[in-house]
Subunit: 197 residues, 2 copies
């Protein structure tokens, strides 16, 4: 698996990505235009097309950018104590994203288009695989140290991501803060039950 | 709360709804046209417009229809034994929907448009409220009979629906059968932990 951090974005790319982020939050994905992204970027559509042929190319690169940002915040979790590390990872997944409902909306729109746009599906799967890898690793490490029960870590990681994806989806239809808080509490109950049985 | 079964669909409505279902599975939501629905229905677009002014009106009615269908299958769960009833409800939510990935895709597309189309959001929320009500009722009943622990049934119902929505979302990006099976196993582990502590 390629470490997402091996990619690098130039300063121009970064600026285009930040413009794309603002445009997605403002307008959503379905009707988003390069013009709207250019407005947020503060330059012409030609300046964007110089770097990206199509809107979908730009948005696929944007998903790479989002994954990189997420991976950077994950790297802030520096503790190696298994229980503490798992707890902080779950916070990164379910607590820190609060107050970005408009972004969660745009991401769910892109996710729902993944079956039609392979470049999107590939990136969502890559990110999911990476996070599950981190979860499995900390669970296996904890089991080895005798802190956690000896569980099917692949299943537990998938179960945790099911709760995380449920929260992200419910945040779009229901009250976002409540959806994330419910999921954080549920994942705690779940993890306590299976890892500290 | 209005019991969804109080609504009724005429035979013509039913036929249009079945055509809509086939068209959604075939073409997805984003680019769906009334022409495609008319093709599946086997009549003219005028015949559809006679009943529904716009595509969104038709799709809002379609969501009502889907909710009614779902409620009908829920009514098949006739046992009143709390543990058995909860188990069968979870099967209805996570086992029976298998092999309908193309429909789950269309539903996720509509769900992602809920923030822009209040008629969609309202129906997704109504269905969610109804299912949570069923779950809360069986959990409270079990607690009263001393079969389940005395828990915060509203939270547990929300947690269960977070897992269900996570499975529905993951089915679109990942392997559907695996996503639903993981969620069924996770919800069992969760329910066992909180209700039989």
């Amino acid at each position: 698996m390629v470490d997402p951090l091996e990619r690098s974005f130039s300063e121009t790319d970064e600026e285009i990505m930040r413009g794309t982020y603002r445009a997605l939050r403002e307008h959503g994905y379905a009707d988003l235009t390069i013009e709207q992204i250019a407005d947020e970027y503060g330059k012409s559509t030609a300046a964007i097309h110089y770097h990206y042929d199509t809107k979908d190319d730009l948005l696929a690169a944007f998903l790479d950018y989002v994954i990189d940002q997420f991976v950077s915040t994950i790297h802030e979790v520096e503790t190696t104590d298994p229980a503490e590390r798992l707890d902080l990872l779950l916070d990164k997944l379910l607590v820190d994203p609060e107050d970005h409902q408009d972004f969660l909306i745009a991401l769910l729109e892109m996710r729902s288009q993944a079956p039609y746009k392979e470049a999107f599906g590939e990136r969502f799967r890559q990110n999911d695989e990476y996070v599950r890898y981190l979860l499995e690793t900390v669970i296996d490490h904890g089991a080895k140290k005798g802190v956690f029960a000896d569980v099917d870590s692949e299943h537990v990681a998938r179960a945790i991501m099911t709760i995380v994806d449920g929260a992200r989806t419910r945040a779009v239809i229901h009250d976002e803060t409540e959806a994330l808080a419910t999921a954080r509490r549920a994942v705690e109950e779940y993890v306590d039950a299976v890892l500290f049985e």
